[in-house]
Symmetry: C2
Subunit: 202 residues, 2 copies
């Protein structure tokens, strides 16, 4: 399969490795890095990319940032950037790719443990992750031509040393384990599912 992968960070790199090991062709997309460049907050840039890629069978997203900030201090700009990035950015990936993806193709987006679990200053993350998961569950009922859409919800990554101090007491997950969940979502007939790599049940 030819798979378009957004994000070149810790998750994106691990997903690329796992997909290539399993014989897939990966086109990695970053804002400034990757095989090709596109801006998730600009749907015209995404449409131009997908139109130009030729046949592809899956779109996977390991991209989109959210601000961490106490509710009373979070700024309008932090809210707007978080929604435009990880929220509407990922929704735009799907909207822009839908006219071009092969029949039976799949979309795999990313949310995170903050959907359900609190950390101090985690309200923005919780809001945006729920937005993404809500979209995935809704879009799963509207996918045309046998396409599918799922979401990966990792807890904090073992490799993300910058974020670990914000997830106190959370057992981290290795990026490779998260990457296997992407492969699982792409390779199997799942639709509308949230695959959780949370390390705790509650």
């Amino acid at each position: 399969m030819k798979i378009v992968l957004f994000g070149t960070g810790a998750i994106g790199s691990a997903v690329k490795d796992v997909l290539v090991e399993h014989g897939h062709a990966v086109v990695s997309i970053g804002r400034t890095s990757g095989d090709r460049q596109a801006d998730m907050t600009d749907i015209a840039s995404l449409t131009a990319l997908f139109r130009d890629l030729g046949t592809f069978h899956a779109v996977a997203s390991a991209a989109g940032e959210v601000s961490g900030a106490p509710l009373e201090k979070a700024t309008d700009e932090q809210w707007a950037k978080s929604i435009a990035g990880k929220g509407m950015g990922q929704i735009n990936l799907v909207r822009a790719a839908l006219p071009y993806i092969a029949d039976g193709g799949s979309f795999t987006l990313v949310s995170g443990v903050l959907t359900e679990e609190p950390i101090p200053g985690g309200s923005l993350g919780r809001t945006i992750n729920n937005m993404v998961e809500g979209f995935v569950k809704g879009a799963a009922t509207e996918m045309p031509r046998g396409c599918r859409i799922n979401c990966i919800s990792p807890t904090v990554l073992a490799e993300s040393t910058h974020y670990l101090p914000y997830f106190v007491g959370y057992t981290p997950v290795p990026a490779r384990e998260v990457a296997l969940a992407y492969l699982r979502a792409i390779a199997n007939p799942l639709n509308g599912r949230i695959l959780k790599l949370h390390k705790t049940d509650s």
Copy 2:
């Protein structure tokens, strides 16, 4: 209690009636109707309102519109307006009121049955409702000075004859029953709860 109520439609009117019957003072807010006017999509207009209201003990929202449109046809504008209205609009209510609400005050927002249940063209509603509920659960962990925040999730209203044809087979709920849930959320020590008026369990 002095309660600031956003929305003057079927739910807003019923909430006003129930709150007044229970002895509360209600200040109703609409874009063009109500006792006072404010625009939920403009946080400066909300801040000006709350600064000017004097002491208030609760903010209740029965406002915010979402587009219904098939995923493949929904426009950038429909997405942006839905997020800015029912999504970020309600989040802005909370952000703007927090510096002014009385200690122990409460916020009550509105989502809807689409959070969990599909209708054709319901992906936008599902996305925005999950965004709102995610915010409520996150903000509940960050409320200062004993304040609380909850969310009412009604199914389609019996009174909303315009929307009934889109909710085929869904048993509608009378607006007064929804209004009682607002009273319950305001009058009792709930925090981070989603009160569902769905008429079906699954």
